[in-house]
């Protein structure tokens, strides 16, 4: 068979593309829409892969390298899809002094993953955070559906993990 060049399929659907474009008038220039666009793509795919960066660049008339620059500035945007729920366990000073590091280690051992990884069933991603800003709950954790946990100990940590594995809770239930 002779190889044929196929058009590169687009990843960002038209509706999302339009949503990104609708943000342009709000900013002084197109480039400034990079961060909102990254957020929109991230909430759609739960990650920002290279192909999506390319397409964002195309929409905003900048280069993919410029999108990657902004994207990689934030630890928030992963390149591979996250689990259904993402949880950050804090290891900054207040939490660390109250056992944050140990809780993180405990959680990961329990789930058989390393910090930053997703469980084999794709349900939960565990990451560490540098200060969640909820030191009054130290040692604390935050899940990406908006739930705050803490102060945690081993048993409440276990309960948190079990809860999180049931899946994200819809916004209105918060």
């Amino acid at each position: 068979m002779t190889p044929t060049t196929l058009p590169t399929p687009r990843m960002i659907p038209d509706s999302l593309r339009q949503k990104i474009e609708s943000y342009v008038p709000r900013y002084p220039n197109k480039k400034a829409v990079t961060l909102p666009a990254l957020h929109m793509v991230h909430s759609h795919f739960r990650c920002v892969p290279y192909q999506a960066m390319k397409e964002i660049a195309e929409i905003l008339e900048i280069t993919p390298a410029e999108v990657a620059d902004t994207m990689s500035f934030y630890g928030f945007f992963p390149q591979a899809p996250l689990g259904d729920v993402r949880v950050w366990i804090c290891r900054s000073i207040s939490c660390m002094l109250r056992g944050g590091d140990e809780l993180l280690e405990h959680a990961c051992k329990n789930l058989n993953i390393e910090p930053g990884q997703t469980t084999a069933d794709g349900k939960l991603t565990v990451e560490f955070a540098e200060c969640l800003g909820i030191c009054d709950h130290a040692p604390a954790a935050l899940s990406d559906d908006g739930r705050v946990f803490g102060p945690l100990d081993e048993s409440s940590l276990q309960k948190m993990l079990d809860d999180l594995r049931k899946g994200p809770i819809p916004l209105e239930e918060l």
Partner: protein, 574 residues
């Protein structure tokens, strides 16, 4: 008049200058060390090397108020009443600390690093750093990667100054480089499969102050301290970029840009950068040749000249006329000497211009203060950079001679038509490209009864000419060119002429019996300026460092002489 006080001394700032503290201090001979700042790029103040003590002097009371903390000089405007302290104990201690921080993860692999000898880290370690490394933790090891076919990035040597990133965004506007991640994890990177691919790409190697971005073409070829640098002018196009031609052991190893705000600012294009290769080409003519039967025979210069003169004299006494062709690759001096010699042979002489190669269209990069910029641009004077479609360095200069000695710039094609009426054709070439002439053009010229060629390469015309004299190549001669903006610029010879070959000026002196080799191009320019109207502004055969605008007066540029420390680092040669 704006007065600035630097280390207790008052200086008058030049009119209209928008300097930062580094530029102002340098203007008065005081060096403030810097890495991330580049005069043509926006200020981001991220390396912190340039921090100094800054204050202001109250004009009414004369009281000096200093800021409590050190501030980056690159971001400090030099204004009336600005006070700078660049050598206090506090500043010196700070520089030590910054050097230590920048070197924390440095692999210290200078013995195998191309940058050694012209490295910002070496220079400042020596001047400002401390001798011992105190860091005992595990070092961060960063990868080595290719950012293009010609450029390698040794991330472990990078200091994250982001000069390279800002360059691609702000000058060519192609933005191929970016900062990937931040802080300790930061790296310079390209987007996968999108290499640094623009006509100015090589400049990122020059402006990288350390050995991170290196040119693969030069990699491990030479230690830089063995190179001798010669001020040259690029012959790749009619822009006439100012370059440093760097040579050792009879070979040119690289071209680097020299700063000229009226011409090329801090940059050169990649074509000019790698144009140095023609200087080492194996197809350069190695002597003088006479066609006997079907074969060319090499003859020593004295016999060559004797036979050439005999042939020309007999025919000219016979009232035969001459067609002289002058290549736009000749220097002003060469064109003058050649035209003068031809005119002295007979008054039956017609002069024409050699082929002027034109490729594509002029390509102008016109950075402005807003596009692609990511930091403070208040000190930048944006200057455009043009790669000319006209690929010869001196059409304008040669045309001046044609105007003066002949009937103006008769184009090559026109000249070919008139070969029939001129039994003698004398061609002065000089193009570094062996294919400068087409087969049908060769055939047209060969119709002459006597065909004489002075040229640098073995080319199709050399294959058939009756007399072929090898002459000094672009790297072996000195003189001047007139660029597209009618700026006269001087260039020095980087190499001695090849064995068995003379510079054209000397050869003409020998052939015409007029003057004694070696001929100094300055003397020829002086003579030319006396008679050629276009050169009237040249005084005593001298050309100012930044060239001479032949038509009008240059706009004064306050920072005209500012050479970025890292583009053309001064190496002490052994």
């Amino acid at each position: 008049m704006a007065t600035i006080i630097i280390d207790g001394q008052s200086f008058e700032l030049p009119e209209g200058a928008k300097f930062n503290a580094i530029q102002a201090a340098k203007h008065f001979g005081i060096d403030i060390p810097y890495y991330c700042w580049h005069p043509a790029l926006s200020v981001v103040a991220n390396c912190r090397m340039c921090e100094i003590e800054v204050g202001t002097k109250d004009p009414a009371t004369g009281e000096i108020k200093m800021l409590p903390r050190l501030v980056p000089g690159c971001q400090t405007p030099a204004r009336d009443g600005t006070v700078l302290v660049t050598e206090s104990a506090k500043v010196l201690e700070h520089r030590k600390n910054i050097m230590e921080l920048l070197l924390i993860n440095h692999p210290l692999d200078c013995p195998v690093c191309d940058q050694a000898g012209e490295c910002g880290l070496q220079d400042y370690s020596y001047e400002h750093g401390r001798a011992a490394h105190r860091f005992v933790e595990e070092r961060n090891v960063k990868p080595k990667k290719e950012v293009s076919d010609l450029i390698v990035l040794n991330q472990d040597r990078c200091i994250m100054c982001t000069r390279c990133v800002r360059f691609t965004r702000e000058i060519p506007g192609t933005a191929e480089l970016h900062v990937m991640r931040r802080g300790d994890h930061g790296e310079i990177a390209i987007f996968p499969d999108q290499p640094v691919d623009n006509p100015l790409a090589g400049n990122v190697v020059d402006l990288c102050p350390v050995g991170a971005l290196l040119d693969k073409d030069f990699l491990h070829n030479q230690r830089v301290w063995f190179l001798s640098k010669h001020d040259g002018v690029c012959t790749g196009c009619s822009t006439g970029c100012n370059i440093s031609v760097e040579e050792n052991a009879g070979k040119v190893w690289r071209h680097k840009p020299r700063h000229n705000p009226y011409v090329n600012d801090y940059w050169i294009c990649d074509e000019g950068r790698y144009g140095y290769k023609a200087a080492n080409s194996p197809t350069l003519l190695g002597g003088n040749y006479v066609l006997e039967g079907k074969d060319h025979h090499g003859v020593p210069t004295d016999r060559f000249v004797k036979r050439l003169n005999e042939t020309l004299t007999t025919r000219i006494l016979d009232k035969q006329s001459v067609l002289g062709i002058l290549s736009p690759y000749l220097s002003v001096e060469e064109a003058f000497a050649a035209a003068q010699w031809l005119a002295s042979l007979t008054n039956r002489v017609e002069l024409a211009l050699g082929p002027v190669p034109v490729r594509g269209e002029d390509l102008t990069f016109a950075p402005d203060k807003t596009k692609g910029r990511s930091g403070d641009t208040s000190f930048i004077v944006p200057r455009p950079f043009t790669i000319s479609a006209e690929k010869a360095p001196n059409r304008a200069g040669v045309e001046m001679m044609l105007d003066h000695f002949g009937k103006g710039a008769v184009p090559f094609e026109k000249a070919l038509e008139s070969v029939a009426s001129h039994p003698i054709v004398i061609v002065f070439g000089g193009s570094p490209d062996e294919s400068w002439i087409e087969a049908d053009q060769v055939a047209a010229l060969r119709k002459a009864e006597v065909l004489v060629l002075f040229d640098t390469t073995i080319n199709p015309l050399a294959d058939v000419a009756d007399f072929v004299a090898g002459i000094a190549s672009f790297a072996e001669k000195s003189g001047t060119y007139v660029n597209r903006d009618r700026r006269l610029q001087r260039f020095e010879a980087a190499l001695p002429p090849r064995e068995g070959v003379w510079p054209l000026l000397d050869l003409i002196a020998i052939v015409s019996g007029d003057g004694k080799a070696p001929i100094r191009s300055q003397e020829i320019l002086k003579a030319a300026a006396r008679v050629v109207p276009g050169l009237a502004k040249v005084e005593d055969g001298l050309v100012p460092e930044l060239g001479l605008n032949l038509d009008s007066k240059d706009q004064p540029i306050p920072d005209a002489g500012f050479q970025d420390d890292w583009t053309l680092a001064n190496v002490s040669t052994v």
